[in-house]
Every structure is written in C-alpha cells, then in structure tokens.
C-alpha cells in the first residue's frame, strides 16, 4: 500500500448515455441524490440503475418511504424492459418504511435502515422518496436528531458499509443551499423544461466528487426501455488527428459536372451545404450523393426531416434503404434536440461503418426541434458538424433558401461558415421560363469553378448544362442579355 491513492471503481449505470455524462460511471460507495420535480423520472432512473447493478453478490435494498405507494411503484415500474421480476427477493429487496416514518422520529427511521442494511449487507441502497422523511421531520418538530444529522449519519454509515447510496426526492430548492447538498458526493438533477407547448426532459450532474462530468443540461427521453440520456457528441480523436492533406482524396457527389465544378469532387471528410429554394433539386442531389457512394461500396446514413418515410424519396433511394446500404434516422419523435440527432447519427454511422451522411434539410431539422432548442440552433449545429467531421464521414446538408434577389445568402442560419463547401441553387427567369442555375460558392483549401450553370432535373437526376455567358444579372433573378459591345445594361 505504499502507492497511496485509493482507487475508485466506477460502476456502469446501465442507463444509455449517463456514464458519459457522469465522466465514466458512478463512483462505487458514493452517496448520491437524485432530485427533480414530480414526474421528472427520478424513480425510473433509480430503478433502472438498480436493476442494472444489483446481483446476488451485490444486492440492492430499495426503501420506500411514505410518498408513492409501493404497490403502484411496482405496478408501473414493471412496465419497463429493465424490470426483471426474477431479481426481486434474490438481488433486490423492497422495504417499506411508512410505519417508521409516520411517527416522524428520524432516529427510529435511521435505526430501521441500519438494521436492514446489517441484515442484508447490500451493495446498493435506495431511499425513495426522501421528501417524506423531510416532511415527517418538519411535522414532528421535536425529533431527537435533525434532518441534517440524519443525512450526515446515513451518509457516513452507508459509506462505511460499502454501499453505493441514492436518496431520491423532489423536495430540494435549488436556490437554497441544503446541507444535504454538502454531504452528498453526487447530485443528479432531473428537469422538465417547458417552452411554449413542448416539454423536454433534461438532466444535469450538479456535482460528482472525484471525476470530471460533462457540464450542462443533457436531454433525455423515457421510453419502454427506460431512461436514455443524450450526451453531447464526443469527438473521435483518432480520426481528427489523422495525417495527410485534407483535399488529397476526393469523392464524387454523383453528378459528374458538379464534381468538375468542385475542382475534382468533394474532398473526403468535408461538409457540403446545398442551399436553394424549394423544388430546386436539393434532395435529389443528396440522393445522388448517397447512391454514388453505394455504387462504390460505401454505406451512408440519412436524416430526412421533410419527406415522409418511403414517399417521394425515389425508387433508387428506397432500394438503397431496403438493402441496408443507407441507414435512416427516425426523426419523428416530438421535442428532438440536436444532441439526440447527433447521437443517433453517430450510432448509425458506427453501426454501418458509413462514410457518407445526408441531413435533409436544416430547415426541416429546425422545425422538428423542441422550441427550447431553437435559440441555440447554430451553436448545437456547429457542435454536431464538428462531431460528424471527427468521425471522418463526408456530410451533405441541404438548406431551404428563400429566393431573394436583393441579397446573396446561403443559409438562413448563418450556418455557411460551418461548412467546408457550399453549392447554391436558384431560380432565374429567362425567355419566360423558370430556369435553375447552380454554382459552387466555396470549397475550403481548393480551387473550384466560379461559373453559374443552368441545370435541369429529369428521370436520370440532375443534368448540368451551359453557362449563360450572354446573360448578366443572373443573381438578380431577371438576367438581361449582354450587349455585343460589352456595355452592361442594368435591369429595371
């Protein structure tokens, strides 16, 4: 023991995403609080952790205090996939303390907890809900020990009994420092953030002794499998530190003329923004990008926010999806966050070992986000694009762009700076026809065409045609024919 430092084992919580947010799992023998408003998922989280960690060798004691009737708790908790009836009585024991708490004597409650802990030697102890203990204490007023002492003693006892402990409660007032906060090693706060008509669940690790947690509010969902936390996307260092010139390898985007315009294809690992008005063929270009990858044996992932599943996606795309060469991210859940989509995308990228990713479109993406995230859309998007880039994939994002003929913009979010390459599409009027033009506005660290080319969409996809060299004022939407002498004539 001359090395000195105690080593703290970190227990995997069994809650997807929570270990990342906690900074590697839950420290063994820690004394934790799970706090939050009623309905925020505290009991569910506690049960999920318990069912993941309890074993016959490391049994769990779950003390229920007044609060929620245990019958109801058992009734509802067993609806989750993690609830395993076989574990009850074998590695998990539920113990009701209602009768002990009713008197309000915390000494008695503590004595009962100690007796049960001594009898069963649990590795995990849960007290749900702790608010009842607090209230009982207040109602009594003449308790022999104060709540503070109670918590302190409980914390000390549990640590010396080598039990990882959780107090579950909805009682705490965040702004009012409670002595319990000081005693606790960990503080997991669950919130329900309501904004306009939407509700989003968020989790924050306000404290976790001895380890670096991921700061901030992390969204989570409660589904049939229980709690799922969406940790912010992590950067893949291995790929990020990759050597070689970024533009050395170029990918075809599936439209040969556009590859030429891009300077020989899109550099691998780049993110490309395709901005254009409705109907300009952005999704078709995105489809061509994935199909080209599939032709070369690559796999791709698409997050489509506008088109309905299996409709108007085109037969080729449906085949790619059916054959498993393109994975689809389900974007229909309400109250999505950018981190959730990032997590889903990265998981699917890893699953399929995908090299091409399409997000169609940013405008649709913003619409499905819970309103509370819309203010931070740019920041979250920047984080997502960086995380995607760090996995080494090449990303194509589309963006709806209202045709404005007085200014030249590439995206309504100022997202243009996030991307490595930009392709712009717009409508122009020529000879009483609505024509489409396409141009490459940016390819980072690479030469590219600066021409505005006419293009058409037919059954074969996008066909890029000629430059309109005899027209000018194209970006104004109403070009005029250039005079032979070269004297420019402005439009009216």
């Amino acid at each position: 023991m001359t090395q000195g430092k105690a080593s703290i084992r970190r227990l995997p919580t069994g809650v997807p995403g929570l270990d990342e947010v906690l900074g590697g799992g839950l420290p063994e023998f820690s004394f934790n609080l799970i706090a939050g408003a009623p309905g925020s998922g505290k009991t569910t989280l506690a049960h999920q952790i318990m069912f993941a960690l309890a074993t016959p060798e490391r049994p769990a004691l779950y003390f229920t205090v007044l609060g929620e009737p245990p019958l109801k708790m058992l009734r509802y908790m067993q609806q989750f996939d993690f609830f395993d009836s076989e574990m009850v009585s074998r590695s998990i024991r539920f113990i009701n303390l209602a009768d002990d708490t009713a008197a309000g004597d915390l000494d008695k409650v503590l004595a009962r907890v100690v007796a049960e802990v001594q009898a069963h030697g649990p590795g995990l102890v849960f007290v749900d809900s702790f608010r009842s203990v607090v209230l009982a204490n207040q109602a009594q007023g003449n308790s022999f020990i104060s709540l503070e002492q109670f918590v302190q003693q409980l914390g000390m006892l549990m640590t010396s009994w080598q039990a990882t402990t959780f107090l579950v409660g909805e009682y705490f007032n965040e702004s009012e420092p409670s002595p319990i906060f000081t005693v606790a090693d960990g503080l997991i706060w669950l919130r329900q953030s309501v904004h306009r008509n939407s509700m989003v669940r968020k989790l924050e690790i306000m404290k976790m002794r001895g380890q670096a947690t991921l700061p901030g509010l992390h969204t989570f969902r409660i589904g049939p499998a229980g709690v799922h936390v969406f940790a912010p996307p992590q950067f893949d260092q291995a790929v990020e530190n990759g050597s070689g010139s970024p533009t050395a390898v170029r990918l075809s985007v599936g439209v040969p003329e556009l590859d030429t315009m891009l300077g020989g294809g899109l550099p691998r690992g780049y993110s490309l923004l395709v901005a254009g008005p409705s109907g300009a063929g952005k999704s078709i270009l995105a489809g061509a990008f994935l199909a080209e990858g599939a032709r070369g044996g690559e796999t791709g992932v698409i997050a489509a926010f506008e088109q309905r599943p299996n409709r108007s996606r085109g037969q080729a795309m449906v085949e790619l999806i059916d054959s498993g060469r393109v994975g689809v991210i389900d974007t229909r859940a309400p109250g999505l966050s950018v981190d959730e989509i990032s997590g889903l995308l990265i998981a699917e990228i890893r699953r399929l070992k995908a090299t091409r990713v399409v997000i169609d479109s940013l405008s649709g993406f913003e619409l499905v986000l819970a309103p509370t995230f819309r203010d931070d859309f740019r920041e979250s998007l920047a984080r997502m694009v960086s995380a995607l880039a760090s996995t080494g994939v090449t990303v194509l994002m589309t963006s709806e762009l209202e045709d404005r003929f007085t200014d030249l913009r590439f995206s309504p979010y100022g997202t243009a700076f996030l991307t490595d390459a930009i392709v712009v599409q717009r409508y122009i009027e020529v000879d009483s026809r609505l024509q489409r033009v396409i141009a490459v506005a940016k390819v980072r660290s690479s030469a590219h065409s600066n021409g505005l080319y006419l293009f058409d969409i037919d059954d074969g996809g996008i066909r890029i045609g000629e430059m309109l060299v005899d027209q000018e004022g194209l970006l104004g939407g109403m070009p005029t024919r250039r005079r032979a002498a070269g004297g420019a004539v402005g439009d009216a």
Binding site: P56, P59, T64, P69, P70, L71, L74, R75, Q78, S85, E86, V88, S89, R90, S91, R93, F94, I95, N96, A98, D99, A119, H120, G121
Partner: protein
C-alpha cells in the same frame, strides 16, 4: 369479475391440510396463512397496504361467501385477523374451507392484477412454501 381467474396451481396448503378437520381448525389454519401473507408483504408494501388489499378481498369474496361479511366489517386494524377467525369458526367445516380458499384466491388475483403474476408469485412464495406452521415467514439471507 373484477379480477382475472387464476389457475389453481398454488393451492393454499392451509386449506389442503384442514379439509377434513373441523371449522375451528380451518379457521386457525387460515389465520396462520394470513399472518404469513402479512409478514411476506408488509415489509414491501407496508402494513396499511396489505390491510387495504385484505379488506378489498373480503369485500369481493363476501358476494359468493356471505359468511365473510362479518370478517369484512371486523377487519379494522392492520394485521388483525380475529374477525376472520371468528367468522370461519362459526361455519360448517366445508363451508369454512371453501370461503377461506376463495378469499385467498381473490387476494392473490387482486395482487396479480396490480403487479403481475410473476411478481405476485415471487412475493408470496414464502407463504406457500412454508407449511401451516403458524410462524411468520422468515426472510432468507441473500
């Protein structure tokens, strides 16, 4: 029927043991079974939780077994089964046995309806495993 009919795979041993005995013995066996039920469940769902389920079971079972009506009215304190004992002891022995059996099945069905068959079986295992010794079910160490 407010509760699902349960397969009769766990016949209460108290009833089985007392089938040919007099009503007093049936009543004693029933009381001891209920004490074991109480012991097995009250630490998990609380004394009051068990009492509420017990009273509801009496209320439901008394429709088919009117002799249980007195037990229902007398079940005032959690963990007190004297009214049930008195009610059963006053019956003919087959009547007492049937009523006692019906009450247990109703209770079991009610619990299963709330927390499912699997968990109900698990929690009441010690009741059926332990023959009618009259002792409260003991928790086995993990």
């Amino acid at each position: 029927m407010p509760t699902d009919a349960q397969p009769n795979r766990t016949t209460a041993p108290a009833d089985h043991a007392a089938r040919d005995a007099d009503a007093g013995r049936v009543a004693d066996a029933a009381t001891s079974t209920w004490r074991r039920v109480e012991a097995a469940l009250s630490r998990i769902i609380g004394k009051r939780g068990v009492a509420a389920l017990y009273q509801r079971s009496l209320y439901l079972a008394r429709a088919d077994h009117p002799c249980l009506a007195a037990a229902h009215e007398g079940a005032l304190q959690p963990g007190d089964f004297t009214a049930l004992r008195t009610a059963l002891a006053g019956q003919s022995s087959p009547n007492a046995a049937t009523a006692s059996q019906a009450l247990l099945q109703t209770f079991r069905g009610l619990l299963a309806n709330l927390i499912g068959d699997a968990l109900t079986e698990r929690l009441l295992k010690s009741v059926w495993d332990n023959p009618s010794s009259g002792h409260a079910a003991q928790d086995t160490s993990p």
